[in-house]
């Protein structure tokens, strides 16, 4: 299962307790999938002294104790795994297809974005109007169709607890690109569906943020009290490698789902799938259509 097509990774020490590995300078599903494959294999072997294995978009890091695990021994292991993984095209990832309901153009993110127009590229438009315009969509409705039409690959979880970064599963020429705010906001509602650069995200907690705000989801994604049924096992919902489908909902449906959350009965619609990079790259549209057809079977 080895291949030599992938460009060599770049290794750097992150002080005395981290090894940082950049697989590619630019974002791609291939680079992300290599990060997943390498960190999955490292988890299986997990040498003593490893504290954290953190896959990211086109890179990963390992946090470790150099008193237990000799730094060069770790480095050799990582290089060895990189060779074994190669371009990762024949690696399949057990994944989940996750449906996230979105109330686009909701009152809460709209109120928030209006407070920060002085930090925005286009003070006379809303964030989603700006995103639609610069991506060549004649109407916001058509932009929402594109945003909710393709699946998204969770390429990294982090920044703050449980926040998913999601990369659009479309050929690059069709990818939505929206710059972040000129200066970050000091406020973002919890569960805002956001966008920055080539990444979609969901804010897991309220706080500062620089991503454009398109809407809000009723679905909780981080529950430190672990009181909701989706969080019985762990307080963070998303895992790197999950595949997300956004489903537009109206205000009535949003309110009904929030009521379910408050009653403690809400469940995110999620089902197991196997993701194969090669099958996706061979026929992205066909692959996505087959994938999404499984959501409501």
């Amino acid at each position: 299962m080895t291949s030599t097509e992938a460009p060599p990774a770049r290794y750097s020490w992150g002080g005395d307790e981290h090894v940082f590995v950049e697989l590619a300078e630019e974002m791609s599903l291939t680079a992300n999938f290599r990060a997943m494959a390498i960190t999955t294999m490292l988890r299986e072997q997990r040498p003593d002294g490893v504290h954290d294995i953190c896959p990211a978009n086109a890179s990963y890091q390992v946090r470790y104790d150099p008193d237990v695990l000799e730094p060069h021994a770790l480095l050799d292991l990582l290089r060895d795994i990189e060779k074994q993984v190669g371009d990762a095209r024949d690696f399949t990832l057990p994944s989940r297809l996750v449906e996230i309901p979105v109330l686009y153009r909701d009152p809460w993110t709209t109120e928030t974005l209006m407070r920060f127009r002085d930090r925005h590229q286009d003070p006379d438009a809303t964030d989603i109007e700006y995103a639609a315009r610069i991506n060549g969509y004649p109407t916001v409705e058509e932009f929402i169709d594109a945003h909710a039409g393709s699946p998204w690959f969770v390429s990294m979880v982090g920044f703050v607890a449980g926040l998913p970064f999601k990369f659009q599963m479309v050929p690059r020429e069709r990818a939505i690109i929206v710059p972040k705010y000129l200066r970050p906001r000091t406020d973002t509602p919890k569960l805002t569906v956001g966008y920055g650069g080539c990444f979609a995200c969901i804010y897991s907690v309220r706080g500062a943020g620089g991503y454009q705000m398109f809407g809000i989801t009723p679905a909780p994604i981080y529950d430190p009290t672990q009181s909701l049924p989706d969080f019985t096992d762990f307080m963070v919902f998303f895992r790197p490698g999950d595949i997300v489908k956004y489903t537009p909902i109206d205000r009535e449906r949003y309110d009904a789902q929030v009521a379910e959350v408050e009653a403690g009965t809400f469940r995110i619609n999620a089902r197991p799938v196997e993701f194969s990079l090669q099958a996706f790259l061979d026929d992205p549209d066909g692959y996505n259509a087959r994938l999404l057809a499984g959501l409501h079977e």
Partner: protein
Amino acid sequence: MITVRKPGLSTTVQDAGRNGYYDLGIPPSGALDQYSLRAANLLVGNPAGAAVLECVYLGPELEFAGDAVVAVAGAAMIPRVNGEERPGWESFPVAAGDVLDFGYLTGGARAYVAVSGGIDVPEVLGSRSTYALGALGGHEGRPLAEGDVLPVGAGDGTAGRRAPEELRPAFAKEVEVRVMMGLYDHRLAPEGLAAFLDTTWTLTPTADRIGFRYKGVELATVDREPPFGAGQDPSNIVDAPYPIGSIQVPGSVEPIILHRDAVSGGGYMMVATVLSGDLDVVAQSAPNTRTRFVAVDLDQALAVRAERRDRLRRLEEALTTG
């Protein structure tokens, strides 16, 4: 039990921290100054990594419901029992009904208050440390507030234990912080790299458990065509994981050292990482501390680490055999 009569500026329950969840955005947290955490605990006879109170700039006022042994290490902030001064870096008894408060900060930034038996809040993900951004751990996932009641574990300490002077850190207004260059330092032009190491940086008031921001000069970067997904600014990268202690430079100005409540990743170039042991020095920096970054290589970093381990071993010997 301890009742919080006044919370101080920002007082949190912290221990040695939690490992294993940084990949999902949950950072290690724990005492920012791990040396002082250990010293305070050893003084009262606790395991070195037990939960203590971390007090920033201005101490709390605490009322004890039972007898205990207490020690304060870290920043110079004179402890007082019912208004009577007690020495820092030395264990002392408190009796039921006693009130502990603190004088003004005269050095460092963070004091650590250990109580025999430890602060017995529930463990979350293997640690009692507070991660306030994620509303997790510690006392209700947040800094202490007036009226909070903290449980104390069972344990009896010995009053009158003292940390030897030579094993206490010195706090200065001008400090050196050792770093390993790397990560995205190739984004800096040679003059930018030189400026990073030659500048005396000044710590701004933005200095909390997440990060410490410094003022100085703008760092020159290398021109490039932005990689897909990185963003237009020369300091942007495709969002990557951030090492604890990594120094990022958003907009090529005002470097930020991420500390133990770090955001776990993001899109700004990191150019160096502070040695894990020197994060204690950063933790004890108050705003306006003048700071130089000194580059070392891996071998030097491991030697620094060994020295620190030795120092902790001597501290442990001094405080457990006395």
